[in-house]
Symmetry: C2
Amino acid sequence: MARAEDRGPVRYGPVLPEPGLPVLPELSAIVAAAAGRATPEPPGGPPPLLEAAGGYWLRRGLPTERTQVAAAPGGAPLLLAVTAALGGDVLVPRPCPAWWVPQARLLGRDAFHVPTPAECGGVPDPYALLETVRRVRAEGGDPRLLVLAVPDDPTATVAPPEVLHEAVEAAVGEGLHVVSDETWRDTVHPGADTVLFGPAEMYPDAVTVLTDLTGAFLPPSLPAACARFPATAAGARLADRVRDILTATGALLAAPAAAAAGHVLGEPDAVTARRVAAVALHARLAGALHEAVLAAGALARPPRAGRHLYADLEPLRPHLAARGVTDAQELEDHLTGRLGMPAPGGHRFGDTPAALRVRLSTGPLVGSTPEERAASLTSPEPLELPHVERALSMVGSTLGDIRGEPGPAGPAGGGPAGEGWEYRR
Amino acid sequence: MARAEDRGPVRYGPVLPEPGLPVLPELSAIVAAAAGRATPEPPGGPPPLLEAAGGYWLRRGLPTERTQVAAAPGGAPLLLAVTAALGGDVLVPRPCPAWWVPQARLLGRDAFHVPTPAECGGVPDPYALLETVRRVRAEGGDPRLLVLAVPDDPTATVAPPEVLHEAVEAAVGEGLHVVSDETWRDTVHPGADTVLFGPAEMYPDAVTVLTDLTGAFLPPSLPAACARFPATAAGARLADRVRDILTATGALLAAPAAAAAGHVLGEPDAVTARRVAAVALHARLAGALHEAVLAAGALARPPRAGRHLYADLEPLRPHLAARGVTDAQELEDHLTGRLGMPAPGGHRFGDTPAALRVRLSTGPLVGSTPEERAASLTSPEPLELPHVERALSMVGSTLGDIRGEPGPAGPAGGGPAGEGWEYRR
């Protein structure tokens, strides 16, 4: 895989976080109230946060002691610690979130991508998984960890429980530990005909659940994530080792972020209402993006969760080739400029660089100013707001233009770009 | 080196941060004002923070462009990124701050300790440095980075400019990059007869300056650190690579911590007045600790900066042996229980485990409650405050008891222990 910095406009690393919706006033008040706290947060997170995380998981059918939980300032430092604590090589689905693989690479370990079955983003094909484990072992590798996601980023799909079960069964049978990234668990779109049944319910002794709270609960300005380790002696040892590594890497929560995380994990009504409203908004935007992609003659699985859509522009390959676009990086360059919003190529998610795939996000459609984003959140018909219509129409015409005659290259940008939307340098 | 979790009461990693002094009200207000920010901080830190860091270094004789600066949520994640960006093995003085070596080890690299000359904590002996570089290379290693500190933790001394110059000259001559950890630069004790002349002034092209702002400016509840890279093409490439790694490791500042860091780096009068008051307080406490150590018949270099004292109890070895204390870990266990405050053994700083050395901190003497800590900060005679007197007298009697007849083992604790002072589990 090309290093992120080698080419392309996304200068620093794979995919940048997006501006969040306006911060819930109750949450701002919690953060402000923590402004005078002088005491550092303990490695792994303070007791009230761990307690609240236990309640969060209990409400989702996973009874959880405080000692089973560790918190960190983000999913990436937490996965880095878990990966380092387990040692060995890592297996991930293809495609997978952009932030998974760098943790293994940074530790000097290998990460092996396993293909996913159709409609099963985030979960590797069980047979391909077994084959990969055996091949890696035969070549002297030491696979010890499978990371998967239900629902997943980038494809925004939810793998069916039976496929998930087979994949986890295969991993456990090979002695792998499983990290289930459930960052998007609480963002399943209303009306999505999906059953969420997590790996930890299936194989409680072999699965660590990881939740980056900026997926469904916190603004990205307050990075925080939690892990839930198995309620076994081995799980306790893993948790201890992870806390040691969080200490060593200085991965301590800022006090205001810890206070915010503890608050949202308690899920008071205002937090739940905001989450539900945000999910509904992103679901509508994702649906509209999906329609635009299909209308342009491209493909995408129907989005079922989260804030993304994974588009496959393979049917448009001849038209794109006529514009000099023949791989994922070129597609990213082409679309990012014209859409005025990030459209990271599939290669950033471990997908084949030759494939013409990009991840689109609903975030930029929400608005380019705090006022626009607030209006999107409260509007009963967000798709009819002028700034949303403009942004969607820019997406539609940019994608539609691909099949049309190649016109003169217009000026880049002009879409929903604005404050905060340039790639930062 | 024994893994931190293998034994000893410091369960998670080497040395835990301490409760800070009360947060400056002006700073609390800045943090509270950032509570509503929804936009994530860019990897490497937001422009106002980078600008303020440039001003901070300019005032210390180091003109600095914004592009030369990167910020991260703590010294450890920043050093991890720099170490990963440079590649290769790492050289550090013996002893050195507890958080340096784990970054190299985590990356699967070796860290080699080089002895320091007398009175030169934080800076390796130039001849020993050259010898180590050549030996490591002869054995197939690839040393690329020297990390040093002026002033240093744990010894709280300031190396003389001529020794520092020779050490940096030796490192540069061998093609090493130098990271100068200047976390304690702004905590030199009043009246300390020391000249601060940093490595970046000596060899601007080969030195990256790293400052953890919780050393002199921020409470430990708001982790933030800055690095200043050389103003060269190679420095710019290193800075870019560090920003990439900060992105990949999700080492993003929480918005309230970023706002606080930007504020203190501007050094408004209130921030400087607070820093000066805190330094004066810790200087008096360190002086009192030093006296207690000498009075007990042990050794310590006179503290010149920071909040630590590095005590050598070798002269008391027979007395300690009679109590079953024969190495640094046993000394840590012995003193931590009796002092009721952390007394990490020298082995946690890379020092010889067989040596009877511990690091004492002034932090616990400041008080065990926010009210006591506030009183210490504002009192004209902090050493006369009852809680400070009690704590110092506990230190004095615990150390003094070592030379006395071993009495029946009394209950552990009873010192300045209190809220926040147990080792967290």
